[in-house]
């Protein structure tokens, strides 16, 4: 594939110039991370590229239990980093190993995936379930919850995603990721991520996201509500899974029908919650 209409390419070395080049470039100018999506799109609309590769945004750092991830970090760099391996029993690594193949993971970036908002993204449901925060630069530095990127009216025009932070999680918290595919490296037919936080009294916080429905991952408030206050028994998990299957709108595409996806919602939510619970028991026993 080629970007046949590409007329300008720049690789700035500071954020201010990157933002300037982007706004001067006008309509056809895009920010580029690894460029996998941009190149494969072969889009005639792309006339200029501002490569973010010179900005030193590829890093992973542990910060008091939180994990800071530069937006240009590749999937491989993140999944091989001890901070990711050690975070909530390696749930991030578990998810990343299901993203494409090593040939993709060695180049594609975390930031590119989050910004591109492909409905089958595996990163988005997990990072949202974990309650990540993001930092953007558009001349000013802005930080906020990752959910803001996916709010109805959100648009990133002119801003660079610079950093993602996975927060430090309280004791008694566990998370899990589940992905259903037709083959080992296919994109998701459906995916699911969950986080549960417990105290003596039982579950005090739950986050459940379902994606590739075939729309972009969204929270499932009815399932979350069904879990809080319970002891996460098999019955409580079954109730949450039923609530999710009732609530999540599904649709047809070449990978599956809506009805099949609705069955998957229930299976995925159940498996995620069971896995998260197993992890909690592993830690506390």
């Amino acid at each position: 594939m080629q970007l046949t209409h590409l007329r300008s390419y720049a690789r700035p070395i500071d954020l201010e110039s990157a933002v300037e080049l982007l706004s001067e470039g006008g309509r056809g100018t895009r920010l580029m991370a690894a460029g996998t999506d941009l190149v494969l799109s072969g889009s005639d609309e792309i006339t200029g590229l501002v490569d973010l590769g010179g900005l030193n945004l590829a890093y992973v750092e542990e910060r008091d239990g939180a994990v800071a991830i530069g937006a240009m970090t590749t999937f491989t760099e993140l999944l091989e980093h001890p901070a990711a391996t050690g975070y909530l029993d390696g749930v991030v690594v578990e998810m990343l190993r299901r993203v494409g193949s090593p040939l993709l993971r060695n180049v594609a970036t975390v930031g590119g995936n989050l910004v591109r908002k492909q409905p089958w993204s595996d990163v988005i449901p997990l990072f949202r379930a974990l309650g990540a925060s993001v930092t953007l630069f558009d001349g000013d530095v802005r930080s906020g919850p990752i959910d803001d990127l996916y709010a109805e009216a959100a648009h990133l025009t002119g801003a660079i995603l610079t950093e993602i932070v996975l927060p430090s999680q309280p004791v008694g918290t566990a998370a899990a990721f589940w992905k259903f595919t037709r083959s080992a490296v296919d994109i998701a037919t459906l995916n699911c991520a969950a986080l549960i936080q417990t105290e003596e009294s039982g579950c005090i916080r739950a986050r459940v996201f379902v994606g590739a429905t075939p729309r972009l991952a969204a929270a499932v408030p009815s399932a979350e509500a069904a879990l809080v206050g319970t002891d996460l028994s098999a019955a409580a998990i079954a109730t949450a899974a039923r609530a999710a299957a009732d609530e999540v709108p599904t649709g047809d595409d070449l990978r599956a029908t809506a009805a099949y996806r609705t069955r998957l919602v229930s299976v995925g939510v159940t498996r995620c919650l069971e896995d998260a619970k197993r992890r909690l028991e592993g830690v506390t026993s």
Partner: protein, 159 residues
């Protein structure tokens, strides 16, 4: 504008003229690296895999200008003094090559794997080959060949 980029291809520095919107795959083939195959052009098959600064990537998804200043290694650089690289020889010995279209990409993925994991399990080899499609064989022999190379290289370092 036709930019010129610097690529170190199989250890030799070259100045290469590109079109702005070209992929690394197209540039490498024009430079004579015909082991780099154009299969799907959608990032799915791995026939175009090369080592970019030591990591296996699909060259169809990488813009050539973005690779300026980097090292690229292809299968053309594997043979030394008329001798195949041990993994190439192992692929021949295992009968892992049929039409051969996928073979360069599989070698690239296999070499990347052994460079950071010299003693992989069978499952690790399979995961490393996750992005390499082969339409002819059943993958078993390629996995065998990579495991055999790892054993051979371990033997050499023990000796």
């Amino acid at each position: 504008m036709k930019p010129t980029i610097a690529l170190t291809i199989n250890g030799i520095q070259r100045s290469v003229e590109t079109e702005l919107g070209e992929t690394l795959l197209e540039v490498l083939r024009r430079e004579g690296m015909k082991s780099v195959k154009l299969g799907c052009d959608t990032g799915d098959c791995g026939a175009c895999a090369v080592l970019l600064d030591g990591s296996a990537v699909n060259s169809c998804m990488v813009l050539a200008v973005a690779a300026d200043g980097k090292d690229v290694d292809t299968v053309e650089g594997l043979e030394h003094d008329g001798h195949l690289h041990p993994m190439q020889q192992a692929m021949v010995d295992a009968g892992a090559v049929q039409c051969g279209f996928c073979t360069p990409g599989i070698l690239v993925s296999g070499i990347d794997l052994l460079s950071h994991n010299p003693d992989p399990t069978e499952d690790e080899v399979k995961e490393a080959l996750g992005g390499n499609l082969c339409r002819c064989t059943g993958y078993v022999k390629q996995v065998d060949a990579i495991l055999a190379t790892a054993r051979l290289q371990a033997g050499e370092t023990d000796a």
